[in-house]
């Protein structure tokens, strides 16, 4: 400690350099800790956590596995078990949501498991089924007819969960928007509030929605009136800036799935965003390829130049993406047929 007694400064240059080196090492160790605890490296630990007795541990583990994405394939069996057999609804929904990001086929298995439960005698089972189907998001598109029926369930919590699930799935947009509009006139204020919440935060607005939501500004329930105001203050699909911002978001991985989901709900109005969406048919993540195919398919005639790139994706390794691609091609061609025939008819 008295080694630097002859030094002109409190610490010698060598000591300062060693401390700085120590700091760099410390920061490096923190980086290593972060690296080891996130991404594919964390999957084995997270799979162990899925077997924990504490539901909050299972929930957090499922959320983290969802973030890892397709690299967490090894967790699929445990996540499937948690989504379908766990007694905790939040554990079910988080596992289902994680599967959507990891493997679309496994997510569809969860959907197939819960669809018949919408007919159960026990209302709680029906509520859970709605919640889990909603957590699958647009991947649960085939469950929409069953959820539309659940929107007329005698139990108000089932109706509320069904509307939330429909809004979360979002596609195909027209019947879902119609169900939400019906929800605005439900006898239960809880269901009405849920319906207007979806227009305020999740579902893009259309003119019929604006017309239906406007009277709610005078609703005696203040929270419904406030939510109606939020919905009406939201950007409209016909606003070019909204499309432009969604087109930009599509190019950034953090918001890509959200932007694609919004575009898929906008339908033909999203036609101008086709160019940034097209390359995403070749994305590494099946969920992104699926959403890209859905968004393009919903664009209709304005996506006619996408038919060829879509045909090239008919051999996609993921069966759910393949199905969406085939549907998208059929949808665009069907939309093109009347346009072409009316064009021919107009010619002398």
């Amino acid at each position: 400690m008295t080694g630097n007694i002859s030094s002109p400064t409190i610490m010698t240059p060598r000591e300062i350099k060693l401390h700085l080196l120590g700091l760099v090492l410390f920061v490096g160790l923190l980086g290593l800790w972060y690296w080891l605890s996130t991404g594919a490296r964390a999957v084995p630990t997270l799979i162990e956590m899925l077997q924990d007795d504490d539901p909050s541990t299972r929930i957090v583990a499922a959320e983290q596995l969802g973030q890892v994405g397709p690299a967490a394939q090894a967790a699929i069996p445990r996540l499937l078990a948690q989504a379908t057999e766990d007694g905790n609804q939040h554990a079910n929904t988080t596992a289902a949501a994680a599967l959507k990001s990891i493997d679309l086929t496994a997510a569809r298995q969860v959907m197939t498991h819960f669809m018949p439960r919408l007919q159960e005698q026990d209302a709680q089972q029906r509520r859970t089924a709605c919640a889990v189907l909603g957590s699958l998001g647009p991947v649960a598109k085939p469950a929409v007819p069953a959820l539309l029926a659940a929107g007329h369930d005698p139990d108000e919590l089932v109706r509320r969960n069904a509307l939330m699930a429909l809004a979360s799935i979002g596609i195909p947009s027209p019947p879902i928007v119609a169900a939400l509009l019906e929800g605005l006139r439900d006898s239960s204020s809880l269901v009405r509030q849920t319906a207007v919440t979806q227009f305020a935060f999740t579902v893009p607005l259309t003119q019929p929605v604006v017309t239906a939501v406007t009277p709610l500004l005078n609703d005696p329930n203040r929270s419904i009136a406030t939510l109606a105001r939020s919905a009406l203050d939201k950007a409209r699909p016909d606003e070019a800036t909204q499309l432009e911002s969604l087109g930009l978001m599509v190019q950034h991985s953090a918001a890509r799935d959200y932007a694609l989901h919004q575009l898929a709900q906008l339908g033909p109005a999203a036609g101008d965003a086709l160019l940034p969406v097209l390359p995403l048919l070749q994305d590494d993540r099946p969920l992104i390829r699926y959403l890209a195919a859905e968004a393009i398919g919903a664009m209709g005639v304005s996506a006619k130049q996408a038919v060829q790139p879509l045909r090239l994706r008919r051999e996609d390794p993921d069966p759910v993406v393949r199905e969406a691609v085939v549907e998208a091609i059929a949808g665009i061609e069907a939309a093109m047929a009347p346009a072409e025939s009316s064009g021919k008819a107009a010619r002398p």
Binding site: T9, I10, E15, I16, A42, Q64
Partner: protein, 166 residues
């Protein structure tokens, strides 16, 4: 000028080292310590459960306590480097310079500590949807407060440690 005794020189060296590592470790542990303390003291959660929940959410999406710790620690790392280069490079022969620098750096550190502690407590005690934004702005605010705290510390040092007449 007062000549430095070996004891004074040794004390200043120890102080520089403690300040350097204290700023780094303290900046990192401060938000985590506050999170645990709020759980245990305010929400009356047993420590073992609070600890388990904390470790669970360290890397969890939507929580990421680890990154919150890093964000808060970043300006403290800058302070620690400043301590090392500014105090560590102070001349041994004139201990007044080192003492004044110590008070300046202590002012900066204390100001940052109070600001960071208050921000974390506010976010945890009065949570709202935009609360997490505070974690993003905090490093900038702390960096901006550093020269102010240093200036105040130096001003106090001028009053408390006047240079003796030659």
């Amino acid at each position: 000028m007062i000549a430095t005794t070996p004891e004074t020189s040794l004390r200043l060296r120890v102080l520089t080292r403690l300040g350097f590592w204290g700023a780094v470790i303290g900046g990192l542990l401060l938000p985590w310590g506050i999170m645990l303390a709020v759980e245990v003291v305010v929400h009356q959660v047993p420590f073992a459960r609070a600890w388990r929940s904390f470790t669970l959410h360290l890397f969890a999406p939507g929580y990421n306590f680890f990154l919150i710790g890093l964000l808060t620690a970043a300006p403290f790392v800058v302070l620690s480097v400043l301590i090392l280069l500014h105090l560590g490079a102070a001349p041994v022969q004139d201990p007044l310079i080192a003492r004044r620098r110590t008070l300046g750096l202590a002012g900066a550190g204390l100001g940052m500590l109070v600001l960071a502690g208050w921000t974390h407590l506010e976010v945890l005690l009065h949570p709202d949807a935009q609360g997490a934004l505070a974690y993003l702005y905090l490093p900038v605010i702390l960096l901006a407060s550093m020269p102010i705290g240093y200036g105040l510390g130096r001003a106090i040092a001028r009053i408390l440690l006047p240079r003796p007449p030659a």
